[in-house]
Subunit: 237 residues, 2 copies
């Protein structure tokens, strides 16, 4: 019986991108992609993820799975070849810890999870929040840099779970830099992380599945405009 | 060689309690417990969990693991008998989804993660936030109630990962009710969840390892006083 496999995503969601990468790394090419418009979500998305109403959702033989890190584990446990997580329990715990760290470090009203600190730094440039955010980002980056000591990827010689979890930074940070004219990731201070970004981006499966850069620049230019307008109006609500 | 196993906890941490329960459910009795004072954390705790500086930390043969849900998975993968997670990948994903839901539903400045909504409801009673928090808690409880249809525990007939993740509610909600005089979990509206709380509390390993109720009441009376004082002073900062 042919398996039914569907991915609900948006063109730009960094969480959904994780699922695409994981499937491709597993060599799974046969799946249907449903592109959602987050301003007008489909009834199917709301049915499959009634709790969070968000992409990504993976539907496997009728069963929906939500939350990108949960989906990654599901993919890894369902298709066991080309493992994303290492075998050793301690290494697995380490991978989960850092993926969770990336996703939960901060929490804002505007944009939830992950990258918030990066995004704050880049886009809240006019507010005092930025002064507080930058040292925090630097501290976080230092922790992440340390994880790469002696390794090409977080997963060792090949990319795995943590690489996929942090993967969006390898693309989006340079978009943020282009849009805001601000450079956070200094190659001299973070040589391993800088090298990782290049190594990660060079993996064919990753490179071939980035959202179009010009569209991302336009998207984040709009974000920038919104923040600038809010700053001109006296800062965030 | 005897294994070295240490748990860094506080007397009341609901996250640390998960680790104690999991070890006991695995039949692991031989471990050292280090009780931390969160107002004066030990150098060892800071060394083992430099990123979050929080309990619980499990140290296994010199290797520290942090983040309670990550530790639960580590325990389950290291000692495979009496599994906490089910075998089926979809059921595992479901368990992880709900545990994550419980831990990440909200995010406030005061108290991070989990229970925040419950705590908001109980303690922010004087502020308008409470009006917003109650319907949200009810919605969350409805989702959780649904997961118990046809099951005694989230894990089926025996307690598992999700039960352990939600387990604190079976104890603390009644403490909150006693302290604030407010009842959120209506047995008629949530019969399955109410039954689950009783069933969960009745499991010997769970019952024997609750923090002392009188101390919890005193702790949350102090929390209540703090919120009342803040309300009298014109609400939260």
């Amino acid at each position: 019986m042919a398996e039914e496999l569907k991915v609900f995503r948006t063109w730009s969601s960094r969480f959904a991108l994780r699922i695409i990468w994981a499937l491709k790394l597993k060599g799974i090419e046969e799946y249907e992609t449903i592109f959602e418009d987050i301003t007008n979500k489909s009834p199917l998305l709301l049915q499959y993820n009634p709790v969070h109403k968000k992409v990504p959702v993976l539907v496997h033989n009728g069963k929906p799975i939500s939350e990108s890190l949960v989906i990654l584990e599901y993919i890894d446990e369902t298709w066991k070849h080309n493992p994303l997580l290492p075998e050793d329990p301690y290494e697995r715990a380490t991978a989960r810890f850092w993926a969770k760290f990336g996703d939960e470090k901060t929490c804002t009203d505007e944009i939830d999870k992950v990258s918030d600190l990066y995004i704050d730094c880049h886009f809240k440039v006019e507010w005092k929040e930025q002064e507080e955010a930058i040292p925090q980002v630097m501290e976080n980056l230092k922790y992440i840099e340390e994880q790469l000591k002696g390794n090409k990827f977080f997963g060792g010689e090949t990319i795995g779970y943590t690489d996929i979890a942090f993967g969006w930074t390898a693309n989006l940070l340079s978009v943020f830099e282009e849009v805001t004219g601000m450079k956070l990731l200094d190659e001299e201070k973070f040589p391993l992380l800088s090298a990782w970004m290049q190594n990660f981006s060079d993996v064919p499966v990753i490179k071939e599945n980035w959202p179009p850069r010009d569209k991302l620049v336009i998207k984040y230019q709009a974000t920038r405009e919104k923040y600038l307008a809010a700053a001109a109006a006296g800062g965030p609500k």
